[in-house]
């Protein structure tokens, strides 16, 4: 079953923060976050494994709430380069088969 992402779209000014949520009705083993720019391949951002850990690099971080089967992606002090569509991919088994959400379109304006 496809995970649900929210919001569907968000517009920010440079320097503002954003949170993108990914929720599943099924127990999860992993959550993978990708960013895709128009006409390009999805680019890997980070992965969170069962265990409720939080990861991050630079100004992008994410958390995984195992009890709620939810992951959140945090974008702080957004830059123009953050614009794109963010997808979460959820894995239920260690076999690495992912089900992707519908995406969140993020636009950062100067």
């Amino acid at each position: 079953q496809q995970p649900v992402q929210s919001p569907q779209a968000v517009i920010l000014r440079e320097g503002e923060d954003a949170v993108i949520n990914c929720s599943s009705s099924k127990a999860l083993y992993s959550v993978h976050w990708y960013r895709q720019k128009h006409g390009e391949a999805p680019v890997f951002l980070m992965i969170l494994l069962k265990g409720g850990e939080q990861k991050g690099h630079d100004k992008i971080s994410a958390s995984f709430n195992e009890k709620k089967q939810q992951s959140s992606l945090y974008l702080t002090a957004s830059q123009l380069s953050y614009s794109g569509t963010y997808f979460c991919g959820t894995g239920r088994l260690a076999g690495n088969m992912l089900t992707f959400g519908g995406g969140t379109r993020l636009m950062v304006k100067p």
Binding site: F44, G89, G95, L98, F100, G102, G103
Partner: protein, 114 residues
């Protein structure tokens, strides 16, 4: 390190015609995935290979889609015959168990069925 290669990048065909897409994964990656991404949606897994064996093809429309990875490296995805609703970007990704579960995507093939 070279990324995942795919060809062609674009293809336009008429309905009921056949089409094939090619993917060359990152060197050493034993796991290969084919995804279908319809405009405005997230990627949908069609088939997953581990070396030259199929791990999962439960979402592959087997009456018209087929895929193979004969030597455990390159892979081909075929559609025969194509329907209008097959218009999408077909993405190939690969991963290595030794390096972790991260999937690396190729640039995709944009298929338009007229």
């Amino acid at each position: 390190e070279a990324g995942v290669a795919q060809s062609p990048r674009y293809k336009i065909i008429e309905k009921r015609q056949s089409v094939a897409f090619w993917c060359n994964p990152i060197s050493g990656h034993a796991t290969l995935y084919w995804y279908q991404q319809i405009l405005g949606q997230g990627p949908k897994l069609l088939i997953q290979f581990q070396n030259n064996g199929v791990v999962d093809d439960s979402q592959l429309p087997k009456d018209r889609f087929s895929a193979e990875r004969l030597k455990g490296v390159d892979s081909t995805l075929k559609i025969q015959p194509a329907k209008l609703e097959d218009s999408a970007v077909y993405l190939c990704a690969s991963s290595s168990r030794l390096l972790g579960p991260t999937q690396y995507f190729g640039p995709g093939t944009r298929l338009t069925v007229l």
